[in-house]
């Protein structure tokens, strides 16, 4: 992969930038009888916990908060390692890379869930769900981190090991 470090860095920086709006703005608005309540990602998880659906809440917490954040941090670490030629246990770090590349897709969970809710709950005045601005930002974070993982060349972890 040519310019692997630069490309990965570009994607990962854009990912960090969009991670902020993805978490502050509402990801969807649920309105019932004309009254809308906007939900952020965290708000949606809190709502799930309050209605006693802890396992699902944990699932969403892992997929939409922890995985994107750990991915951003993990790829940053990999980048530092490749750039500063750290002496590391390359086998272990390759495993880290593989985990990051594998879990990335599961963050799309929230986006798909919104797509289903938006298509399904469309009952005019009674109830409706509208996607919010954070959905775009969050979708972008998922795609950008997946691209970053794809651009990173794991060979770099091996090249400078003595």
């Amino acid at each position: 992969m040519p310019d692997s470090v630069q490309r990965t860095a570009a994607f990962i920086l854009s990912g960090y930038a969009l991670y902020i709006p993805a978490n502050i703005f509402p990801i969807m608005t649920v309105s019932r009888f004309g009254q809308g309540e906007p939900h952020t990602i965290i708000g949606g998880i809190v709502a799930l916990v309050e209605s006693d659906m802890l396992p699902i809440a944990l699932l969403v917490l892992v997929a939409s908060i922890l995985v994107p954040l750990l991915k951003l941090l993990g790829i940053t670490l990999l980048l530092f390692c490749a750039h500063f030629r750290w002496q590391i246990n390359a086998r272990l770090w390759t495993r880290l890379y593989r985990v990051i590349a594998f879990v990335g897709r599961w963050s799309m969970l929230d986006i798909f869930m919104i797509s289903i809710l938006v298509g399904l709950v469309d009952l005019g005045g009674v109830a409706s769900v509208i996607a919010g601005p954070a959905a775009t930002a969050f979708a972008a974070v998922v795609v950008l981190t997946m691209m970053a993982a794809k651009m990173f060349d794991p060979r770099l972890l091996w090249d400078y090991q003595r």
Binding site: R32, L48, S51, M53, I56, L59, V60, A63, A90, R91, T94, R95, R105, W106, M108, L109, D110, I111, F112, M113, I114, S115, I116, L117, V118, G119, L120, V121, D122, L123, G124, V126, A127, I130, A131, A135, T136, A139, A140, V143, M146, K150, P154, R155, L157, W158
Partner: protein, 206 residues
């Protein structure tokens, strides 16, 4: 010219003598542990058969209602496609495009590509595009996310179960079947064997 038969590990680029694992064995890279080869029985025939069934399931899974809800006498049903349409109506173009690509277009394309490749290999018809298709298949496989969509359906159902009455539609059964086909398809495809066959075919042509 002396030809050397060496494999390079796709992940860490170490050069290796070719491994010849038999059925049921796996070949890992000795340096980084990458799974190099995993021979599959009847991989070409299986891929061919599964991609035909995937194509049949594609239409009902994408267009027929997955779930229907009922709140105070008002009812509505949703399919994969209706979610995308509603997102476009709400001016969420980027999200709509991403959902459309990763849950509808890319899965269809991976199935069509698998059908094309395995069909050509099955009937022993050389084609100069085989290597290109194979490369596209490897790229697209990562962006087709039916299994994540399934989890999205489950979470959405749990969220709605307290508010509304839910009913599963025929589309959901088709979707689950399609998901199983897609997963067995991608795990049963023996990349090493496919590439080897493509290589042999091109050599015969030349």
């Amino acid at each position: 010219m002396r030809r050397i038969n060496l494999d390079a590990c796709p992940e860490c680029d170490v050069l290796l003598n070719r491994a010849f694992p038999v059925m049921g064995e796996k070949a890992h890279c000795p340096r980084c542990g990458y799974l190099l080869q995993r021979p599959r029985r009847h991989s070409i025939e299986r891929t061919f058969a599964l991609s035909v069934s995937g194509l049949i399931l594609m239409m009902p899974a994408n267009l027929m209602p997955l779930i229907s809800i009922k709140i105070f006498g008002n009812s509505n049903d949703g399919s994969l496609w209706s979610g995308v349409v509603m997102l476009i109506k709400d001016d969420m173009w980027i999200v709509a495009a991403l959902v459309f690509l990763s849950s509808m277009l890319f899965p269809v394309l991976t199935i069509i590509l698998s059908l094309l490749i395995s069909g050509h290999l099955f009937f022993d018809k050389p084609n100069p595009n085989l290597a290109v298709w194979m490369r596209w298949l490897q790229h697209l496989d990562e962006w087709a996310m039916l299994e994540v969509y399934m989890l999205g359906i489950i979470v959405a159902c749990v969220k709605l179960s307290s508010l509304a009455e839910l009913k599963f539609g025929f589309g959901l059964y088709a979707f689950v079947a399609l998901l199983m086909v897609a997963v067995t398809l991608s795990s049963g495809l023996d990349h090493y064997q496919f590439w080897q066959r493509i290589n042999d075919m091109q050599k015969q042509q030349a």
